[in-house]
């Protein structure tokens, strides 16, 4: 393994392209070292415990008007030469690329939040101990989930003379407690492993599982809902991937219409990549910064990389990803801004009886208190898009649903299937309340997260019950 830094390696790759491809060859390289670890538990014991120490090189070249990309894990001199040679060869055999947007010119790289070294170098014992605390706090209920840590050190260089370097860390924990087939969940993403309290999360999951016992089946139909942050995260993810994606927007496959009041005035959505620990540049070296996508209900922007921004006559917003020519630029750090924080309500005030653990925070309690008849939904699962333009999505509830009557959670409900247009459900007049405190939810890979408070919606279309 080379002892070179990521920046040295990236520069070496760019220099190899110049040497082998000629002075006119354009190149951009990203070199990333990563230490990723995930401790997974099920049936209240750790059953899978993995870690990896990897290095990867991504290269994109543009030569003679043609473009190709390549990647590799071998960073020896021979390995890098082979990567450069095959990528140049591929580019020369490709048809012309008239949409090539050019390389990112030299520009300052934004300051990123400092990296927590303890998280970057966390040991398996530390993750296991948090799992142990989660299991213990569940009070004998069966538990399952994970605790993970991730550390990336990444450098960018291109043949236009631009370079950048940054690091990121993330810690996340996601677990369920189970009682007679009813599950409760607790999920967090943080910049520091020390911010994750396994006992707190385990107790929360257990309380919700206890409250989810003995569910009844409700008929499908339109219900008013209170979504907890885990469920709201799914809304943000789908809005991002299918709506605020500059490529889909250019293709007219997105619902987004910048300048139009497409959402309720309570909705403000900001992509905030440096609001947590994150790399300060994208795959094209463009600096990442906060981007307001929706402001008080009005769509303001979609995400761009250099290619989609050139098509749109705009500037890159720093959302380029590897493979972006196919999938498009997507914001992955969305924050749904909550209401102004007021005094906290008493947690659980709006619940009663066996469902008493269903509500775990003051925000949700306040929203539930305003519902005459509706459902409290913890989490959404297996959501898939029926039509990308209208963003009609089907999926199911998971990890706890409860019936609300007259501001009180009265009983657990079996999971329901829904089919709903996400923009329509969040449209003008549709948002009846928003909590004050956003809770950061992890995505399946580190570096992406969705921060949202609880959310009260006027109507959600449930199209099937647990029995079909």
């Amino acid at each position: 393994m080379s002892g070179q830094t990521e920046l040295e390696l990236a520069g070496q790759v760019v220099e190899l392209v110049r040497r082998l491809g000629g002075p006119a060859a354009q190149a951009e390289a990203v070199v990333t070292r990563a230490d990723l670890a995930l401790t997974r538990f099920a049936n209240s014991g750790i059953h899978q415990n993995v870690s990896e120490s990897t290095v990867g090189v991504r290269l994109r070249v543009h030569v003679d008007g043609r473009t190709a990309a390549g990647g590799g894990s071998v960073v020896t001199a021979d390995g890098l030469s082979a990567l450069v040679e095959r990528t140049l060869t591929a580019a020369r055999l490709c048809p012309p690329d008239p949409g090539w947007p050019g390389l990112t010119p030299p520009m300052p790289t934004p300051d990123a939040p400092p990296v927590d070294e303890a998280t970057a170098h966390a040991e398996p014992d530390q993750r296991a101990d948090r799992v142990g605390a989660f299991v213990a706090a569940a009070g004998g209920l069966s538990t399952a989930g994970y605790c993970r840590t991730a550390h990336r050190s990444s450098a960018f260089a291109n043949s236009a003379g631009h370079s950048a370097y940054g690091r990121s860390v993330e810690a996340a924990m996601d677990g369920i407690a189970r009682r007679d087939g009813a599950d409760g969940v607790a999920r967090r993403s943080a910049d520091r492993l020390s911010d994750l309290d396994g006992a707190e999360l385990g107790a929360q999951a257990a309380a919700k599982a206890q409250a989810a016992a003995d569910p009844v089946e409700l008929p499908p139909g339109h219900y008013e809902v209170v979504f907890e942050p885990a469920a709201v995260a799914d809304l943000l993810q789908n809005l991002s991937f299918y709506g605020f994606n500059g490529k889909r927007y250019a293709e007219r496959q997105s619902f987004a219409e910048p300048g139009a009041a497409q959402f309720d005035r309570a909705v403000t959505v900001v992509d905030d990549p440096l609001g947590g620990s994150g790399l300060p540049f994208d795959a094209e070296g463009t600096g990442r910064r906060a981007l307001t996508l929706v402001e008080a209900g009005t769509t303001r922007a979609v995400a761009h990389d250099r290619r989609t921004s050139a098509e749109a006559g705009a500037e890159s917003t720093g959302h380029a990803v590897a493979g972006g020519a196919t999938w498009g630029p997507m914001p992955r750090n969305l924050r749904l801004t909550g209401a102004v924080a007021g005094p906290a309500s008493a947690v659980g005030r709006s619940t009663t009886g066996a469902a008493g653990g269903a509500v775990v925070d003051a925000d949700t309690a306040a929203l539930v208190a305003g519902v005459r008849r509706g459902l409290l939904v913890t989490d959404l699962w297996y959501t898939r898009v029926l039509d990308p333009k209208s963003l009609v999505v089907t999926g199911l509830t998971r990890n706890g649903v409860w019936l609300i009557e007259d501001g009180t959670v009265v009983r657990a409900v079996r999971d329901l299937r829904f089919t709903e247009s996400y923009p329509r459900a969040l449209g003008p007049g549709a948002v009846l309340g928003l909590g004050a405190r956003a809770v950061r939810q992890p995505e399946r890979v580190d570096g992406a997260w969705w921060a949202a408070p609880s959310l009260r919606l006027a109507s959600w279309h449930f199209t099937g019950g647990a029995s079909g």
Binding site: A42, G45, N49, T54, T87, Q253, L386, D415
Partner: protein, 478 residues
Amino acid sequence: MTEFDAAAAAVQAALDAGARYADARVMHRRYESMTARNGDVEELTQDESIGLGVRALVGASWGFHAVPDLSDAAARDAGRRATRTAMASARVPGPPVDLVPVQAVTASWASGCQIDPLGVPLSDKGDLLVDATRTMAEHGADLAEGLYQIWDTAKWFVSSEGHRIDQRIRECGGGISATSIGDGETQRRSWPSYRGQYGTTGWELVESLDLAAHAAQIAEESRALLTAPPCPAGETDLILGGEQLALQIHESVGHAIELDRILGWEAAFAGTSWLDLAQLGSLRYGSELMNITIDPTIPGALGSFGFDDEGSPAVKRDAVRDGRWVGVLAGRDSAAMASLDYGGSVRADGWARLPMVRMTNVGLEPGPHTLDEIIAATDDGVLMDLNRSWSIDDKRLNFQFGCEVGWEIKKGRRGRMLRNPTYTGIGPLFWRSMDMLSSETVSWGTPNCGKGQPGQVGHTGHPAAPARFRNVRVGVSA
């Protein structure tokens, strides 16, 4: 130092550090993909990755570590770290772990390949996609997309029980899609399926798809769908084409019979299963036409191999026989925990991922009918084909699928096209309603099966043919 040497060094280091069992996989994977849009190449990517992953068992606890470095020092360090991680697992121990016996063998295996897909000139591959997407655009598609993908994977497996197995698996495939965009919605038609058909074959598979010959038709159908009547809502007889039935098998049978799900190992993420091991051998899963096999020996199917990623040889097994549930997808440790005597369905998505229970080729044995016979025997129903959306609950019971296209079936004849066809149901009730099954089987390949944390992408095969299901709820909409 050979790949076997590196794997052996990692295994030995894990044992020296205290493991009672260890195995290691070295994998070298080359990947190439190209996408085209509206007559232009959109993206060409070529990746090459090589590294080693080692798994160690200490007491009842597993640990795993992976590195992209095959030097002796790096391999030994990876083995030690895997053992150290396993020891950390013991701080929150699970039940005792055993491994069902597997004969330790020295063996080599390679998938069949007539035309090396990486050896086909890029210009030829580009021309194929450019021509097909240009034709679709000329015939009315707003968005004409084409894609191929190639994986060429060499792997070397060593275990502390004495396995030394090397395999080379070449996989490829491709497809085209036409999207027409109307007021407030889009309509898509694909050939032969969205993002393509795949197999453990050479480029001959892509040539056999004849993408160009289907480009004009799917473009015109996508445009026509914008003004087609919507699929009516209600209960009716449903005929599914083979491609959609393949995904139905994948989601409502394949995942449900994964033993790790049944044992609760995936409870927090992928989910569990409605199946209870106490009913293995007796539970009625579907009608008597339902015969599902787990068969990684099918030549050319995407889920085929010589040995799985813990050294178990490829063996064909029954999962459902005459409608009765009789088998599972298992690994050596999950099988031992369930008191079964077979594994054979464990795979890892590359060297940096832990081997886990995965589908191989899970498919329906052919039935006695043809699609034409099924249509002719249907008085009132809907034919749906080519998947557009899929969703199923965490127990693999409650599903809803959307297809690209539907056709009205009236008095035994295929009628007008229907847009936005969807259907929903409960797995075992749905399978029990299957009363006609075609013999026109195709081994459909699914190269995007997600599972595990960290995430892994599995490549699975699903032999399937058109079939009819009675009294199914269709036409669900927002």
